[in-house]
Symmetry: C2
Subunit: 214 residues, 2 copies
């Protein structure tokens, strides 16, 4: 067995969703290439590699997406009351313009030919592959000292049209990527009192699922 | 910016789906704890941490799942013709009994309270979180010298009942996990001629999606 690899665990534990920390500096081309190569090295069902990455830097596109996300933020906020509304009002949900680079990740189920090995029983297996690629990219960015913020306050149809995905390609993520002033130690949602991390023991079961008392 | 972290990229590139290589030796408890802790450190929408992990070692359960997967393998094989059928016949799709440990990963959308921050517009964002946890676990296993094989030849309803997930918990993966004789250098599907890896350039786009000629 190989020796314990400190690098991986260090990166896994330092990784954070970043929104407030982007400096606006560009990502060096060789670093960006390593991030994308890490994503492209992810596992994929039947080796279909069903992902696409659209690198968006045009301020017009960043602005358009930023406005759309602001609207969705308002939609979410409108459903909150009392302490939840108050807490949420302090939380920043994106760094679209500040990062200067959006990586839009898409899922193309047509990749991999007519018989994708391992996808006949679970249609979403291709979607899972795309998320593995995103997590690889996020960890690589963390190793490189960059920040990543996964924006999910958007409608898929809006983002599909914004970047020109054909009908079959499903948008899976908008990732804000860029140099940051610092990586937060405590996750933002914990810092602002939205949610706290739960203990591992509560989600591990032996032989069969057994719900734990809260 | 932090120095380039060789550990992470090394792990990302060595990671493989393993099926033939399990030795059947048990995973040391402290190693298993590190794997699960890495999974639990994954990003999650609204910090909902919506995953569950059921550790299955009972040979009766492993056998039952193995038989189910064999049936689904037959179903997939029945749809193949000629060279595809011949190539597939040589490919092993699981190491359920050989690994001796299955980690069944579930998605519980009820985790995180009534207002999961960031999930109102994209219902699948919670599912994406679970896959991030799986990829963290897979990379941690690779760093530890263990093999992971993601089995996707199964019906979700069968697996839900097998491990006793309630109706709301969706099975996302069965991971065969354990010590291995060696990590394959070339992915199995490439080795057997099922599919080959594609170049990165074909999936990267600038500003807008642009399909490349094959």
């Amino acid at each position: 067995m190989r020796a314990w690899d400190a690098g991986l665990y260090d990166v896994v534990n330092r990784r954070r969703d970043t929104r407030r920390e982007f400096t606006g500096d560009p990502v060096a081309p060789d670093v960006l290439e390593r991030l994308l190569a890490a994503a492209h090295a992810a596992p994929s069902v039947g080796m279909s590699q069903p992902w696409d990455f659209v690198l968006v830097r045009d301020p017009v596109t960043l602005d358009a997406f930023g406005r759309h996300v602001a609207g969705e933020r308002d939609t979410f906020a409108a459903g909150l009351r009392g302490e939840r509304a108050e807490t949420f009002s302090r939380i920043k949900v994106e760094g679209i313009r500040e990062s200067g680079l959006g990586i839009v990740v898409g899922y193309d189920p047509s990749r991999g030919g007519p018989n994708v090995l391992g996808r006949h029983a679970i249609a979403d297996a291709g979607l899972y592959s795309v998320v593995c690629a995103i997590q690889n990219l996020w960890l690589a960015a963390t190793a490189e000292g960059l920040g990543v913020g996964w924006v999910s306050f958007y409608r898929e149809e809006f983002l599909r049209e914004l970047v020109g995905f054909p009908e079959r390609v499903r948008p899976v993520a908008w990732l804000c990527v860029g140099p940051i002033a610092e990586l937060p130690v405590v996750p933002d949602l914990e810092h602002y009192g939205w949610r706290h991390r739960s203990p591992l023991a509560g989600v591990v079961h032996h032989e069969r699922y057994a719900p734990r008392p809260d």
